[in-house]
């Protein structure tokens, strides 16, 4: 058991929680990333500015982490491109149809005790596990 890894995982999760509480407290909004992205490329073009600012913040956060720790965010460089593209299409389609992703349903939704979010999270975690497990057998 790598204690440091678990400590980092929990610390990161707490930061995500603090950020979500902050956005609801200040702006009255749920920190659901897919929803924030869809709002930028959506029908209504109002309220785009805060969403863009949040997205800029996400990238800035990643940048701050890399420059301050010297760590690499993504290790792999040889993942099959068609898999990444197919995954992106499915994630974009599914999160819009299902009104949320890991952040909106998994953290914020469960945090406000939404049954919809709990069911959605159980669904995408279990199916994600099944797909990843089968894929690892196929690719190896």
């Amino acid at each position: 058991m790598n204690t440091n890894e678990y400590l980092m995982a929990a610390t990161g999760g707490a930061l995500i929680g603090v950020s979500s509480v902050l956005l609801l407290w200040l702006n009255g909004r749920i920190a659901g990333i897919s929803g924030i992205m869809n709002g930028v490329f959506g029908r209504q073009c109002a309220e785009v500015s805060w969403r863009l600012a949040f997205i800029v913040g996400l990238i800035a956060g990643g940048f701050l982490f890399q420059t301050s720790t010297g760590a690499v965010l993504i290790e792999r460089t040889d993942y099959p491109e068609w898999l990444t593209i197919a995954a992106g299409l499915l994630v974009g389609y599914g999160t819009r149809l299902g009104s949320g992703c890991t952040s909106g349903h998994g953290i914020c939704g469960i945090g406000r005790l939404s049954l919809r979010s709990l069911v959605a999270t159980a669904t995408f975690v279990l199916i994600g596990m099944a797909v990843a497990t089968v894929l690892s057998r196929v690719l190896s």
Binding site: G28, I33, I55, F63, I74, T84, Y93, L97, G111
Partner: protein, 140 residues
């Protein structure tokens, strides 16, 4: 400072903390996500710590915000749909398939843009296209 400018700064701050949280937790690294989603001898529960910590903070924080109300908005903007419908389940399932195929979900992929690597750009572009396909093809 105008209210809308304050909202933009609040979203930027929240997004930055969120992005840091994703980077610190290891979620930005799709290998780590797949290590959690793939059931094998190398299975790592680290991301459960991230979820648990995030949910714990939002559970407590949201309760407080629900009492208090938002600072820069008149009302909290919360989802009103409470039905477990087909769209939610099918959407979450499709998202789960995509998540399992590459180990990317929307937040970590956006944070990953800060690495300057090609893969997160390809994923985010595909996700935007996927969500637009859903928007254009949906009747509601």
């Amino acid at each position: 400072m105008s209210e809308s400018l304050k909202k933009i700064f609040a979203a930027l701050l929240s997004g930055t903390i969120f992005g840091l949280g994703i980077a610190v937790s290891g979620l930005a690294n799709p290998d780590k996500v797949l290590q959690f989603l793939t059931l094998s001898s190398a299975w790592s529960p680290a991301l459960l710590f991230t979820m648990a910590a995030g949910i714990l903070v939002t559970l407590i924080g949201y309760k407080w915000v629900l009492h208090r109300g938002p600072v820069l908005e008149q009302e909290l903007q919360l989802p009103t749909n409470t039905t477990l419908d087909r769209k939610l389940l099918v959407g979450a399932a499709i998202f789960g398939i995509g998540w399992g195929l590459a180990g990317f979900c929307p937040g970590p992929a956006i944070v990953g843009l800060s690495s300057g690597m090609t893969e997160p750009f390809a994923f985010v572009a595909a996700a935007i296209i996927g969500s637009q396909i859903q928007r254009v093809t949906s009747s509601s």
